[in-house]
């Protein structure tokens, strides 16, 4: 049986992994390659690098990190942040990324999803959706770190990017991100039930029960978390054992 995936996410800037809440109070969490290798040893199913570098002159740093990671860590690597053109996608894939995630650029230019997936294959293209609840049972897509309401329904946008060729959706609840209160399970389930492509739940994980809930109640195909792993609260292995004990299929 296909295993549900656990994906540690590493926010990378200036060559270092950082973690903060709502982009403030960033704490240095270490060297990305070292951390990726550690997660691999713990049994992570993939790792995701999110390049949160603001200035474009530092963009090439992420390419070097991806190259180094691909030489040493033999599990799938997704890279996102600052992807605006098909050329950006190609450069990241050529450096060693397996999947590339796009967010704001996809909202501004949905053709990018189509062009990129036509060129490199759907399996490489992840569309990241930042969603925020606007009414009970309703979520809108936000951009720019949750500041801009696009007015689009997150569920409808997920269906649209699936049609355009996205191979996977990385769904983040802006309401929950950084809170440690758990995933927005209703949002996760609404999106996962609406599409035929895999959905990764993200935003709000504070304990292992949250990860299990994301799969069993949110119906996510994979769960992504950052801080609970970075600062040693839990290992990926512990997370998997916890989920397995609750009847969830994982790779141990």
């Amino acid at each position: 049986m296909l295993a549900k995936r656990i994906i540690p996410c590493l926010d990378v800037t200036a060559g270092r992994v950082v973690k903060g809440t709502n982009f403030v109070g960033l704490r240095d969490a270490g060297d990305p390659i070292e951390i990726a290798r550690r997660y691999n040893e713990q049994g992570a199913d993939e790792v995701t690098f999110l390049d949160i570098t603001a200035s474009s002159d530092q963009r090439d740093i992420i390419l070097h990190i991806v190259e180094a990671c691909a030489e040493q860590v033999f599990i799938p690597l997704t890279v996102g942040g600052g992807v605006r053109k098909v050329e950006d996608v190609r450069r990241l894939l050529n450096a060693g990324a397996d999947k590339v995630s796009m967010n704001t650029a996809a909202v501004q230019n949905p053709d990018l999803v189509f062009d990129a997936s036509s060129k490199v294959g759907s399996q490489c293209i992840v569309v990241a959706i930042d969603a925020k609840q606007t009414a009970p049972g309703q979520w809108h897509v936000f951009t720019h770190g949750g500041r801009n309401d696009t007015g689009m329904s997150a569920v409808e946008w997920a269906k649209k990017v699936e049609m355009l060729g996205a191979g996977e959706i990385l769904l983040t609840s802006m309401d929950r991100d950084g809170t440690k209160n758990g995933f927005d399970l209703a949002l996760t389930r609404a999106v996962s039930d609406a599409v035929k492509i895999p959905v990764i739940a993200s935003g709000g994980v504070g304990n292992l029960q949250h990860l299990a809930d994301g799969v069993s109640e949110g119906r996510a195909d994979a769960v992504l978390a950052a801080s609970i792993f970075h600062f040693g609260e839990y290992t990926v292995r512990q997370a998997k054992e916890y989920m397995a004990a609750r009847g969830i299929e994982v790779r141990l």
């Binding site: 691909a70 033999f74 399996q123 895999p198 994979a222 790779r251």
Partner: protein, 213 residues
């Protein structure tokens, strides 16, 4: 080209770097070259044929670079490892874009049938089939040191179905059982990505590097 050379065939599709680096990681004393040169492929001791993206594009690029003959020749005479679309291309035909493959093996590559995409829990199975799934082995040298049922990383929407059982070296279930590893003589080809399958994937690549078919 002194010593042992392992050629990773480059026809311009997707990320060959990971495959090359993973082979390099386990191939002590060998030279791993990523190449689009038929002469280098012909001179290599063994060949890795990766693939990513849509099969029609892969076939087109393979021909555009004049590599078809080199691939077919390698598949006839030296240890040959196909990966993902590099496995699918060995068959006669793919439903994806209704394109002809290399025809090394009889059989057709089909999309996961929508009607079968229901899990044991009654929920829909997502396509692409993405993630770590269990591989049931048939006896073969390339499984040495790998537990039967070990998980490998898959990412694909098409797979070979209903092929000659004599060619099957491994199977996986996803809505339906499908062949995820095929083997004949000097050829071994897998639907999953050994270069992304952590320890067991590296073990398979190591077995390939040392394989004397």
């Amino acid at each position: 080209m002194a010593g042992r050379t392992i050629a990773v065939i480059d026809y311009g599709m997707g990320n060959l770097r990971s495959a090359a680096k993973a082979v390099e990681h386990v191939a002590a004393g060998a030279t791993v070259v990523v190449t689009a040169d038929p002469a280098v492929v012909a001179a290599a001791e063994r060949v890795v044929f990766p693939g990513q993206g849509a099969m029609p594009d892969c076939m087109r690029e393979l021909d555009a670079r004049g590599l078809r003959e080199a691939v077919l020749q390698a598949a006839r005479e030296k240890p040959f490892l196909g990966i993902c679309v590099g496995e699918q291309m060995l068959f006669e035909r793919s439903e994806e874009g209704d394109v002809a493959g290399l025809g090394v093996f009889p059989g057709v590559v089909r999309r996961f049938p929508e009607a079968r995409m229901v899990g044991a829990d009654g929920l829909r199975l997502k396509v692409p089939h993405m993630g770590w799934n269990e591989v049931r082995q048939r006896p073969h040298a390339l499984w040495a040191g790998i537990a039967d049922g070990a998980r490998f990383y898959f990412v694909h929407s098409y797979c070979v179905q209903d092929i000659d059982p004599a060619l099957t070296a491994g199977t996986t279930d996803y809505g339906l059982p499908f062949t995820c590893a095929v083997a004949r003589d000097n050829i071994f080809a897998v639907q999953f990505h050994p270069e992304k399958s952590a320890r067991d994937g590296l073990q398979l690549l190591k077995n390939f590097v040392e394989w004397r078919p």
